[in-house]
Amino acid sequence: MITKAPIIHVVDDDGSFRTAVARLLQASGYQVALYESARQLLEKPPGMEPGCILLDVRMPGMSGHELQARLVKIGNALPIVFLTGHGDIRMSVRAIKAGAEDFLSKPVSRKTLIEAIQRALVRHQEARERNLRLASLRAVAATLTPRESEVFALIVRGKLNKQIAHELGTTERTIKAHRHAVMQKLKVGSLAEAVSIAERLGMLPGAISGEA
């Protein structure tokens, strides 16, 4: 899938450091986008291209932590690697809890930095693929007619055709036909497979959205 070099979004108020890191990352084969403040990044949020955000914790205006929160809010899933001049445990725990990929201290060696970025990219890739699969499932689910959707929702809850017919106020035969159509459209051969899809689509209570 990786055809283009991933883009690393560097957000740091220290211009000198920004330049140095950009130089290193470019030399290491990445694309680099530079932002001197959190606000600047929010003005033009990065798309879904592979990449990650290299974020300074301490900046004038909006801090790294705040930016992280805002990105989660707008559904931007780019992984974040924090970099700080002087980090403490409290600060790193807060960042990781909020979903950061990693928390590094300046000065950081190339090896550590690249490793952290790579880990983040891999994770991001995985997440991306997961999201793509989910998206195709949703597309398939979208082809179901409303009646078929109703039938599907009841099937995956383990209801029998007879019960479903009774609930929807129709005949068992009609339900059987709908059931067949649903299995066909979802390209599944067994009820277990259908339940798995329903689970992934978040149709079942207690299921964690997007997670296997």
Binding site: S16, A27, G85, P107
Partner: protein, 740 residues
């Protein structure tokens, strides 16, 4: 004698009686007038003397011619007018002279001499009068009777005057008048006895003669003048009495109003008089104190009421003995109630004495108080632990040196008093002293002098000497007073305190640096991080083919720049930690200092969830101070503010730094927080050393801030903000007018 008796027979006895009475009255008047003359002074006295002389003269003259009228020698008698007048003038003049002599001269022989003159006057009148007699015949004289008559008149006059001088009472006056009468009568009749008229009808009386009838009229006139003169005397007497009474009243008033008690005793020790004060001062009653009571009785009365503590018998015996010796008897008496009286018994002529009583209690008390206060002052001066000296302004010789002065110079006062500084000190030192003395006397302003002095006991000492002049009542400076303070120890202590203050300020900076170490670490890691990244980027770039030399150069330049930046940060920290020996003053923009301080605080503020903000004056605010010190103050205030907000909601922790121009010459910096504020009762004390409201506070931060701000001529204070929280403000003088 026969001739004299015979002569009497030739007189008309009725006229003789008249003559005698006139003579006695005239004598009385004369003596009376003479006594007046003695009692007066000046021109009045001369008047009295002349009147007395005139009275005597008129008396004898009238007596003589009344007797002549009574005389019938058997021939017609006429009188030469000129000689008649002469006789009256001569007797008046000579008698006045004699009386004047008696009045003026006080010697014991004066009275007899004066008497002799008066007698001579009387005799001369008689014989000039006889000379005036013109009869148709020749007068022959018996010389020895003439001599006898003159001798008797002089003798009787001498006796009369002597009595007059000795006795002034009525009996004396009467005796004198009698003597004079006798003298006049004697000279007349003995003188007449000495005459024998041999009729010689060829001799006729001259044209200017007076017949006996005419004479009778003249004599009557003269005789009448005598009571006139007596009237004058009587009038004078009354006048004199009035004056005397007035004088007595005045004397009484004076006696009774005088401050002293006064008594007068006669030679028997009996009271003659005493004044009110005496009675009052001894608490006696007017009934008990009467003229005539004895000194012994008075003492007994006083013993009874407690105003006399001695033994009345012993005291009066001693007193009388002393007075008898003619000596003054002094006595100082203290009574039971603590009053002190000085008694002086002064003997007077005639054996009596005058006693005066003076209550000296108050005077004594004042004297004792003066003595006490003098002694008190002396004790203070002597025991004052600082050297004090006094010089007279004329001559500049030491007049006083206290004990501390002796010890300080190591010279006894005996060696200093009365000497000049050049007599006492080495020339160099003495010259300095003399110069200061001169400066003081010329300016008349207190002179302060701080210098080092070599003392024999304590070596080199730092002293502060103060000199001032002390003026007399007339405003002229009389004394020069000098006080010397040994400030050697104080100087050492001051130096130590200054050193310690410096240490404390430095320790406070180290504490601040400790708190801000995270901030510094963060700051330093920025360039270090950049350097590492650049270096590693360069390593990668070196593997590329072809080499991008430009990029490598650029990278290296960046590395150098970041290295310098790291060095600058370390230098900043070093500045905060450095223990500056001498305080370096520099001119800088206070806005920069505030910005720098805030920068150092950024990380700390973020860690504590505090939102810092700055509001700065548009213009540059040049101040002259030490930058590190001012940053220290701002950091102290800011960190205090952040501490005060620890309990606030995280969203409400606002720290604001503000700089404004305050007037034309000052700049004001304020650091405000939104914390808990300062308890009003502690606002005054928060700048005190070791005063703290924080559990972990040292109580040094604000005290140091104040020390620093005041060092640079500013002020620092704290207020509570209306909306909550506190604001700390300080001002500093502008180094110059800021550019607009």
């Amino acid at each position: 004698m026969y001739r004299v008796l015979n002569c009497l027979v030739e007189h008309d006895w009725r006229l003789l009686v008249v003559a005698g009475i006139v003579c006695f009255l005239a004598s009385l008047a004369a003596v009376n007038l003479f006594q007046r003359a003695r009692a007066t002074r000046g021109r009045l006295r001369a008047g009295w003397i002349l009147t007395a002389g005139a009275a005597t003269g008129c008396g004898i003259w009238a007596t003589h011619f009344i007797a002549m009228l009574a005389y019938d020698p058997g021939v017609a008698i006429a009188y030469n007018i000129g000689l008649l007048a002469l006789s009256l003038v001569v007797v008046m003049v000579v008698t006045s002279g004699g009386l004047a002599f008696a009045v003026v001269t006080s010697a014991s022989w004066a009275a007899p001499v004066a008497g002799a003159i008066v007698g001579a006057g009387l005799a001369s009148m008689h014989y000039i009068g006889m000379w005036a007699v013109e009869v148709p015949g020749r007068l022959t004289w018996w010389p020895h009777l003439v001599v006898v008559s003159i001798a008797i008149v002089i003798l009787l006059s001498m006796v009369g005057l002597t009595i007059a001088v000795r006795r002034k009472d009525m009996r004396g006056i009467a005796a004198t008048a009698l003597c004079l009468t006798l003298a006049i009568v004697s000279v007349h009749f003995i003188g007449m006895g000495a005459i024998e008229i041999v009729p010689d009808p060829t001799r006729v009386t001259s044209a200017f003669s007076l017949s006996p009838n005419a004479l009778a009229i003249v004599v009557a006139g003269v005789a009448v003048s005598i009571p006139g003169m007596a009237l004058v005397g009587a009038f004078g007497d009354r006048h004199l009495n009035e004056k005397l009474r007035e004088g007595n009243l005045r004397l009484d008033a004076a006696l009774n109003n005088m401050h002293h008690g006064l008594c007068m005793f006669d030679s028997d020790g009996r009271l003659i008089l005493c004044n009110e004060r005496y009675i009052q001062m001894h608490s006696l009653s007017h009934d008990a104190v009467k003229p005539g009571c004895t000194v012994r009785e008075l003492l007994a009365l006083r013993k009874g009421n407690g105003t006399f503590l001695g033994d009345p018998d012993e005291y009066s015996t001693n007193l009388r003995a002393r007075i008898a010796e003619g000596k003054t008897f002094r006595w100082i008496m203290e009574t039971a109630d603590g009053r002190v009286t000085v008694i002086v018994n002064q003997p007077i002529e005639g054996g009596g004495w005058v006693a005066t009583f003076e209550d000296v209690t108050e005077r004594r008390r004042l004297e004792q108080e003066r003595d006490r206060s003098q002694k008190f002052l002396h004790t203070i001066l002597e025991n004052a632990p600082i050297p004090i000296f006094v010089k007279e302004t004329s001559g500049l010789r030491y007049a006083l040196v206290n004990r501390a002065g002796e010890a300080f110079w190591g010279i006894s006062r005996a060696e200093m008093i009365g000497k000049t500084s050049h007599d006492v000190f080495p020339k160099e030192e003495a010259d300095l002293i003399a110069a200061r003395d001169k400066q003081l006397l010329q300016s008349d302003q207190p002179v302060f002098d701080e210098r080092q002095i070599h003392t024999p006991r304590n070596g080199i000492r730092n002293i502060v000497s103060r000199r001032l002049t002390v003026c007399d009542d007339d405003g002229k400076s009389r004394y020069l007073v000098g006080v010397i303070e040994d400030v050697t120890e104080r100087k050492h202590v001051e130096q130590r305190i200054a050193h310690m203050a410096h240490e404390v300020i430095h320790l406070n900076r180290i504490a601040i640096a400790g708190v801000l170490s995270t901030s510094f670490a963060h700051e330093l890691n920025q360039p270090l991080g950049a350097i590492l990244s650049n270096t590693e980027a360069a390593e990668v770039l070196l593997t590329a083919n072809p080499l991008n030399v430009d990029q490598l150069k650029e990278t290296l330049a960046d590395i150098r720049r970041d290295d310098q930046r790291a060095a600058e940060i370390i230098r900043q920290l070093g500045g905060l930690l450095k223990k500056g020996g001498e305080i370096q003053l520099q001119e800088f923009d206070l806005n920069d200092a505030v910005r720098c301080a805030l920068h150092l605080l950024d990380h700390e503020a973020e860690t504590r969830g505090v939102v810092p903000s700055v509001s700065q004056a548009q213009a540059a605010l040049p101040v002259r101070a030490n930058l590190v010190h001012l940053q220290q103050v701002i950091l102290n205030l800011a960190m205090n503010g952040m501490d005060a907000m620890a309990c606030c909601d995280p969203g409400a922790r606002r720290l604001t730094l503000e700089t404004v121009l305050a007037g034309d010459a000052d700049v004001e910096v304020s650091v405000s927080d939104s914390g808990t504020g300062i308890p009003p009762d502690k606002l005054e004390r928060i700048f005190d050393t070791f005063f703290t409201t924080k559990p972990q506070g040292t109580g040094l931060g604000l005290s140091i801030a104040r020390t620093i701000i005041e060092t640079y001529g500013g002020k620092i204070w704290a207020e509570n903000r209306l909306g909550g929280g506190a604001v700390f403000r300080f001002t500093l003088p502008l180094a110059r007018t800021p550019a607009a």
